[in-house]
C-alpha cells in the first residue's frame, strides 16, 4: 500500500517512527520544539515525545552540534536539525573535526551515530549567504555519510536509515521540496544508504544528479523526449557512500553522460563522478562528460540574475545535446 503525502510529512513520519522505535533517538535544534520547526518538519513531536526528546536550542550551531556529538559518543542517537545548512558552516568544526574523525582517532572504540539534517540549496531570492548547496563541504571529509533525497519516499526511507546508521550522516533536504507530494510505501520504509535509483529509464544519454535537481532532470528528459532523445535519469540519493556500480551501469548503457547539480562547479560533486566515470568506464564513453551546475558566482539576489545563475532545464537540454553531438 502507498499513501500520498508531502516530503515534509514523510520526514515527520520518519522522525516519529524512529523515536517510537528507539528511546535513544532525540531531536535537537533551533525552533524544533515549541514552534514545530522552521519548516514544520517536527510538527507535533514535542507533544508526542516531551521536551526530553525534542529540544529547542539557542542560536548556537557550533554549540548544539557539539552537544549532539558528545551525546552520540555516550550512546544516544541525536538528530540535529540545522534551520538550513547555510548556518551549519559554523558547526563544521564539530562535524568534520569531531564527528567524522572520532571513530578513527579512538582506534575504533567510539562511534558517533548522529544525524545532521535540514534544507540546503537555493530557494528563491534568499541572496548569497542563504542560497548555497552544502553537499560538497560535507562529502569532502572521510567519515561523514551524505544523502540527498529528492522524493517523499526517499526522504522518509533515507532519514530512517540515517538514524539507524552507526556513523555521522548528513541528510540534505530541499527547501523547495517540503510541499512536494508523492507516494510513500506504508510501514517501515527504509532506503539503504549508498543505493542510487534510476528515476527514468532511457538509452541515449545518462543524466546523473542528486537532490532537488532530480526534478529538473526529469523536466529536461521530458523536453528531450519530444525531440526523440531517450534520457536516463539516475538519482544518486547517497553521495557518500557512492553507488559506483549504478553510475557505471548507466554510462555503459548509454555511453554518454551529463552531471547536474545545484552547487558550484569547482571541485563539485560532479567532478568526482566524472573522475569515477573516466577511470572506470573510459572505453565506454562516446563523448566527453559535461556538467550543468550553478554559475561559479555567489548567488545573486536579483530574480533575473538568480534564474540565470541556477541550472535550468534548457541548459540541461543543451548539455545533453552537446554530448549527443546534436547542435
Amino acid at each position: 500500500m502507498m499513501a500520498e503525502i508531502t516530503y515534509r510529512e514523510a520526514l515527520n513520519q520518519a522522525l516519529a517512527e524512529e523515536m517510537d522505535r528507539d528511546d535513544s533517538v532525540f531531536l535537537m535544534g533551533e525552533e524544533v520544539a515549541e514552534y514545530d520547526g522552521a519548516y514544520k518538519v517536527s510538527k507535533g513531536l514535542l507533544e508526542r515525545f516531551d521536551d526530553r526528546r525534542v529540544v529547542d536550542t539557542p542560536i548556537s550551531e557550533l554549540g548544539f552540534a557539539g552537544l549532539g556529538v558528545g551525546a552520540a559518543m555516550v550512546g544516544l542517537r541525536p538528530v540535529i536539525e540545522f534551520m538550513t545548512f547555510n548556518f551549519s558552516l559554523l558547526a563544521l568544526d564539530q562535524v568534520i573535526n569531531s564527528a567524522a574523525k572520532m571513530l578513527y582517532m579512538s582506534g575504533g572504540q567510539i562511534s558517533v551515530p548522529i544525524v545532521f539534517r535540514g534544507p540546503t540549496g537555493a530557494a528563491l531570492q534568499l541572496s548569497a549567504q542563504h542560497s548555497q548547496a552544502a553537499h560538497t563541504w560535507y562529502v569532502h571529509a572521510p567519515g561523514v555519510k551524505v544523502v540527498a533525497p529528492a522524493t517523499p519516499a526517499d526522504a522518509k526511507g533515507l532519514l530512517k536509515a540515517a538514524i539507524r546508521d552507526g556513523d555521522p550522516v548528513a541528510v540534505m533536504e530541499g527547501e523547495l521540496l517540503y510541499n512536494l507530494k508523492g507516494e510513500v510505501p506504508d510501514g517501515d520504509h527504509v532506503v539503504p544508504l549508498g543505493k542510487a535509483e534510476v528515476k527514468r529509464e532511457g538509452s541515449d544519454v545518462s543524466l546523473i544528479t542528486h537532490g532537488a535537481p532530480v526534478h529538473l532532470a526529469l523536466q529536461a528528459a521530458a523536453k528531450l523526449e519530444k525531440e526523440g532523445v531517450d534520457v536516463e535519469v539516475l538519482d544518486l540519493r547517497s553521495i557518500r557512500p557512492l553507488d559506483v556500480d549504478a553510475i557505471l551501469e548507466t554510462v555503459r548503457k548509454t555511453n554518454r553522460a551529463v552531471y547536474l547539480e545545484e552547487g558550484w562547479p569547482f571541485v563539485g560533486v560532479g567532478t568526482q563522478i566524472i573522475s569515477v566515470i573516466q577511470e572506470e568506464a573510459f572505453d565506454h564513453l562516446d563523448a566527453p562528460v559535461l556538467r550543468v551546475t550553478q554559475a561559479d558566482i555567489p548567488m545573486p539576489y536579483a530574480k533575473n540574475l538568480e534564474q540565470l545563475a541556477k541550472p535550468s532545464a534548457d541548459r540541461v537540454v543543451e548539455a545533453c545535446n552537446r554530448v549527443l553531438y546534436r547542435s
Binding site: D283, T293, D296, R315
Partner: protein, 419 residues
C-alpha cells in the same frame, strides 16, 4: 560592431560554395563593398564582397573548404574589438572527404543580423573545452568507445570518416563500418586509384542530370572505325601464333586497344562514388559474356599490360567458367570499365547499359564490309561501329570523345599503340 562574413548565395541555385581564394588575409583592413574572396559556386567562380568596414579578424573557412549558404566563414571587426565567441562560428565541414578544414562545432543555423545572439551564446560554466583543432595534427580522433569497438571489430580507424565534432569517430561510425563488412580483399596491395574531390560544377552536373534521367545519367558516343589495318594485322599475328596453337579475335584486339586508350584517359577509367570520383591507376576490363539465363562480366585484370594472346586465352577461360557458373565473386566484381560485343550476332550497333559504379561501357558492333567515301570515292572497307555509354556525372562529352579518338586511332593504325 563586428560583421560576420557569410557564405552568400552568389548564384540563384547555389546551395553551398567553396572558397577558391581569400584575397585578404587576417589582419588586413577591408572596407564595405571590397572584394575579399573568390567563391566557386555551382556555376562559376564569383567574388564575395565585405559587408562592413574594419579588419578581417578571422578566417573561419580556409581555401578549398566548403560551406552552406548562410554559414559564417569569417569575421570583420575593429582591430581591438573582442570577437570572443564569434570565432567559434566555424562552418561544419561538408562531407566531401576533406580531412582538414575549419574548426568545426555543431551549431545552429546562423540568422541574419544575429550578432548579439551569437555573442550571448555561452557554454555552460565548467563544461569541456571547445574543440581547438581538427585532425590537422595527423592524429585520428575517436572516442574511447569507438576505439574499443574498432579494435574488437577489426576496423582500421584511419579508414573511418568521423561524424562527431571535429571529425571525431564515434560509436555509430564504427557500427556503420562494421555493417558494411570488411573491405573486399584487394588482389594487389599498391595504390590503385585516386579519389577526386567533386568541384561545385561537378556536383551540380551530377545532381541535375540524375534528376533528369534516373540514377545513372547516360549519354552515348558512337564511332565508325576503319578496321582495314586491324584486319591485316590480325591475319599476320595469327599466322605467327599458329605455331603456338594460339589465336586472337577481333574482340581481343578491341579489348587490348580499349585498355591502352583507358590508360591514356584515366577520367574514363573511373567509378562514381557519390561524393567523389575514383580514378583507377589500373585497367581492369569487364567483358560481357552471355550465359544461359543472362549475362555476366568477368574481368581481365591489368588488361593494358597483357598481350592480345594472353587476353584471348584469359577471356576464353573466364567465359567457359562463366557458362559453367564457376566464377568466383572477385572474378566478376570491381571492373574499372566494361566492353560488350554483340558483333558475332550481326548487330551493327547498339548501346549498352552502364554497370554502376563504373562510369562507362563500350558496345562493339559487327565488323562488316561497307561502302564508305574515302578521298571523294566510294570504296569498300571493313568497318566496325562502337558506341560508348558514359555516366555524365563522371565523364563529359569531350572527355568521352577524346577517349574514342585514341581508341579509334589504335584500331585504325595498330602501330600507334607502340608510339
Amino acid at each position: 560592431m563586428a560583421t560576420k562574413v557569410h557564405m552568400e548565395a552568389l548564384s540563384p541555385t547555389m546551395e553551398e560554395g567553396q572558397v577558391v581564394k581569400w584575397l585578404k588575409s587576417e589582419g588586413d583592413t577591408v572596407s564595405s563593398g571590397e572584394v575579399i574572396a573568390e567563391i566557386e559556386t555551382d556555376k562559376a567562380t564569383m567574388e564575395l564582397v565585405a559587408r562592413g568596414d574594419g579588419t578581417l579578424r578571422k578566417i573561419l573557412l580556409q581555401e578549398g573548404g566548403t560551406a552552406s549558404v548562410g554559414e559564417v566563414i569569417g569575421v570583420i571587426a575593429e582591430e581591438d574589438e573582442d570577437i570572443g565567441d564569434l570565432d567559434r562560428e566555424a562552418p561544419t565541414p561538408s562531407g566531401d572527404g576533406e580531412d582538414e578544414g575549419p574548426r568545426a562545432e555543431a551549431r545552429e543555423e546562423p540568422q541574419e543580423g544575429d550578432e548579439e545572439a551569437a555573442v550571448g551564446k555561452k557554454v555552460p560554466a565548467g563544461t569541456a573545452a571547445e574543440e581547438k583543432d581538427t585532425s590537422v595534427d595527423g592524429r585520428v580522433k575517436a572516442s574511447p568507445l569507438a576505439r574499443r569497438l574498432a579494435e574488437e571489430g577489426g576496423v582500421a580507424l584511419s579508414e573511418v570518416q568521423g561524424s562527431g565534432p571535429g571529425g571525431r569517430i564515434v560509436k555509430s561510425d564504427i557500427e556503420a563500418a562494421l555493417e558494411k563488412g570488411p573491405p573486399a580483399p584487394r588482389a594487389r596491395p599498391d595504390a590503385e586509384y585516386e579519389d577526386v574531390k567533386l568541384s561545385q560544377m561537378r556536383k551540380a552536373i551530377a545532381k541535375r542530370l540524375v534528376e533528369s534521367i534516373g540514377p545513372v545519367p547516360h549519354f552515348f558516343l558512337t564511332v565508325d572505325v576503319d578496321m582495314s589495318r586491324a584486319v591485316d594485322a590480325r591475319a599476320r599475328v595469327n599466322a605467327r601464333l599458329e605455331a603456338e596453337g594460339k589465336k586472337v579475335s577481333y574482340n581481343d584486339i578491341v579489348l587490348k586497344a580499349t585498355a591502352l586508350a583507358l590508360r591514356k584517359h584515366p577520367e574514363c577509367n573511373a567509378h562514381w562514388g557519390g561524393d567523389h570520383i575514383r580514378r583507377f591507376h589500373r585497367v581492369d576490363l569487364g567483358v560481357a559474356v552471355a550465359i544461359d539465363d543472362g549475362l555476366i562480366t568477368p574481368i581481365v585484370r591489368d588488361a593494358d599490360l597483357k598481350g592480345m594472346a594472353e587476353i584471348s586465352e584469359e577471356v576464353r577461360e573466364l567465359a567457359g567458367r562463366a557458362r559453367d557458373k564457376k566464377l568466383k565473386p572477385d572474378e566478376y566484381t570491381g571492373a574499372t570499365f566494361s566492353v560488350s560485343n554483340l558483333g558475332m550476332f550481326g548487330i551493327e550497333e547498339f548501346t549498352a547499359v552502364i554497370n554502376p559504379p563504373e562510369a562507362g561501357i563500350l558496345a562493339v558492333g559487327a565488323l562488316e564490309e561497307r561502302a564508305v567515301v574515302v578521298d571523294g570515292e566510294v570504296v569498300v572497307k571493313p568497318r566496325m561501329k562502337m558506341t560508348m555509354s558514359c555516366d555524365h556525372r563522371v565523364i563529359d562529352g569531350a572527355q568521352g570523345s577524346r577517349f574514342l579518338q585514341t581508341l579509334t586511332a589504335i584500331l585504325e593504325e595498330p602501330l600507334v599503340a607502340l608510339a
